[in-house]
Symmetry: none
Subunit: 195 residues, 4 copies
Amino acid sequence: MNIPSGMSPRASKRRDIERAALALFGTRGFHGTSMPDLAEEAGVGPGTIYRHFESKEALVNEMYQHWKAKMASEVYANLPVDVPWRERFRALWRGLFQFDADHHGAIDFLDLQFHSDYLDASSRALEQQSATLLFTMITMAQAEQIVVDLPPPAVVALVYSSFVGLVRAQREGYLTLDDALIDAAEERVWAMIRR
Amino acid sequence: MNIPSGMSPRASKRRDIERAALALFGTRGFHGTSMPDLAEEAGVGPGTIYRHFESKEALVNEMYQHWKAKMASEVYANLPVDVPWRERFRALWRGLFQFDADHHGAIDFLDLQFHSDYLDASSRALEQQSATLLFTMITMAQAEQIVVDLPPPAVVALVYSSFVGLVRAQREGYLTLDDALIDAAEERVWAMIRR
Amino acid sequence: MNIPSGMSPRASKRRDIERAALALFGTRGFHGTSMPDLAEEAGVGPGTIYRHFESKEALVNEMYQHWKAKMASEVYANLPVDVPWRERFRALWRGLFQFDADHHGAIDFLDLQFHSDYLDASSRALEQQSATLLFTMITMAQAEQIVVDLPPPAVVALVYSSFVGLVRAQREGYLTLDDALIDAAEERVWAMIRR
Amino acid sequence: MNIPSGMSPRASKRRDIERAALALFGTRGFHGTSMPDLAEEAGVGPGTIYRHFESKEALVNEMYQHWKAKMASEVYANLPVDVPWRERFRALWRGLFQFDADHHGAIDFLDLQFHSDYLDASSRALEQQSATLLFTMITMAQAEQIVVDLPPPAVVALVYSSFVGLVRAQREGYLTLDDALIDAAEERVWAMIRR
DNA sequence: CATGAATGAGTTTTCATTCAT
DNA sequence: TATGAATGAAAACTCATTCAT
């Protein structure tokens, strides 16, 4: 068997399951993905999934929280401070696309499970937390007269959904998101929200 | 029973089913909605659905095509011609939100079923058609140097996902989309895509 | 299809399921009986059971309560009053065996599910009620110096388990419980508990 | 680890498994007890059970035969000979309760597995043997006009089920079986079966 | 035409058993 | 020898669909 170095076989199977779940939940959705399908995609028996996750719901929630947290730590937590807002925005925008490139399917997964009724309190709390962080950032930039004076949730919606829109368009084959396009889009999105 | 005037009881039941399907498919998704649930929401027996639609897939496809077509005819087909692009864009933007206001849940429904594997060739063709129409519009505006020189699918993605993002934000309770906000957003989105 | 007269086909299926459940739960036990087996024994599809009973646990609890109540009404409620205790006891004893003869398998069923952890509060309450009724009866007879002065639960255990023991012995093929044997046993059991 | 003196670690684990099996099979039943649960209760890994017993069925059968045999040797084989029947009965009765006190749960276990379809030929043979021994004893006493003239299986059923009934009543918390109660019950049960 | 009870294939989940460590 | 992760067959249960009424 081919086990990634430095990983126990058990942990490796868990990874396989998580990988399969990210791919299938992110394309077919939670209810559109059956556990046998998931097992086959992961290359394990159906019973094996239940040695790693309590239930299908527990699996999707653990995944959701994992990726929400990863996004927070890889994108939001690493934004430069003490630089002009313009530059912070560029770092945010590039961070988002970098995250998408580094973790294929994660954005699709998060977007598709967004606000589904099988998400538990923990997942919703993380969701809230991310949103609040972005609202706060916008509010600060507005206080400095840098960003347009729309309700912060509106600004966040405009920016974030633009990002997701481009990622989706690429997934559907309408686009290729290279650095040039990402930067060009960044300029335009900034134009949308700057004062 | 209360039957809308000018509508046969049969047609009225079909409406009830369509209404229920729009609401449930648009919130819980296709696989997350069961036919018995749909029937109950519509106030009909489960068997009745099958007198109007061949199958669950046929139902969602008919719905998808219905609303895609309705959107094309109510929003895209009524855009003013022989007016400046700026004004056409404003009409488009307002038309989108008007459509959302007139047909509660329709945007959520279309967005959630987007590019799902249970959509058939017909649905995909309509999807294509709508997209192509928008791409063409953008291409024309770019030829006149009005709109920024990004790939048309990117421009469409930016605009349309901004619209959907605002609608979603309202659904989640983060926003109220009144005319003032819609117009303010319009200005900013136009700022994003104008040359 | 052969439907008992005066019974809707729906009610008839429910009867079939109840009959099958009494037989299988009473011989193989709750956990030893699978829903597909139950369905086959009842001559219905597995899904049909769930249109009549919420779950396997709900089924066994409804059955338990049904038969406990039936036993109370057919055996305990019809005991003669204003007759000597000797006669009441004979009526009780004969009533128990009559119940067993009338409702084949019911005693085995009740005995096998007795105090199982899948019985719910309602079932346990009925159990309690039956027990209390018997304890009270014994206490009264003791007050009149008719019955031996053991703790009432002990007296009830001796009598009731003697009854069940005979029924079991018949089921295993060791005995045939005809009237003569039942009456002879009654005399001996009375000898056991009389003062 | 705490290993009983004079016992190999292997034998000690086997004891742990047997102890766990007695407790769980005797309360939840054979089908209601899972091998992982059994392993946890025994404090061993699930795989370990299979180094000692071929299968779950083999385990329950070995247990059944073990306890049936133990009961025969500890209770039936030690009955005094050349003493009046009255005294032999007292010894039997006390022996039964002594056995229950010495081997907590064994009576519940034997009673619950009684005549289950997973018991094999060996187990059934031992069952038969025990029964026959008791039938013979009763027949002899009847020949001496000591015991009432019911079919021997009926007499055995009355006595043995009275014993089990008292043990059950204690398990359910209705009674405490102290020596006084046991002796008082013995007197009454003897009154039931004596000529 | 509308209904809803019935169905059985398919779902999520459990568990007796195996086997690499 | 003991382990416990992995397995897949089978369990409880759901649901799209049918059809007798």
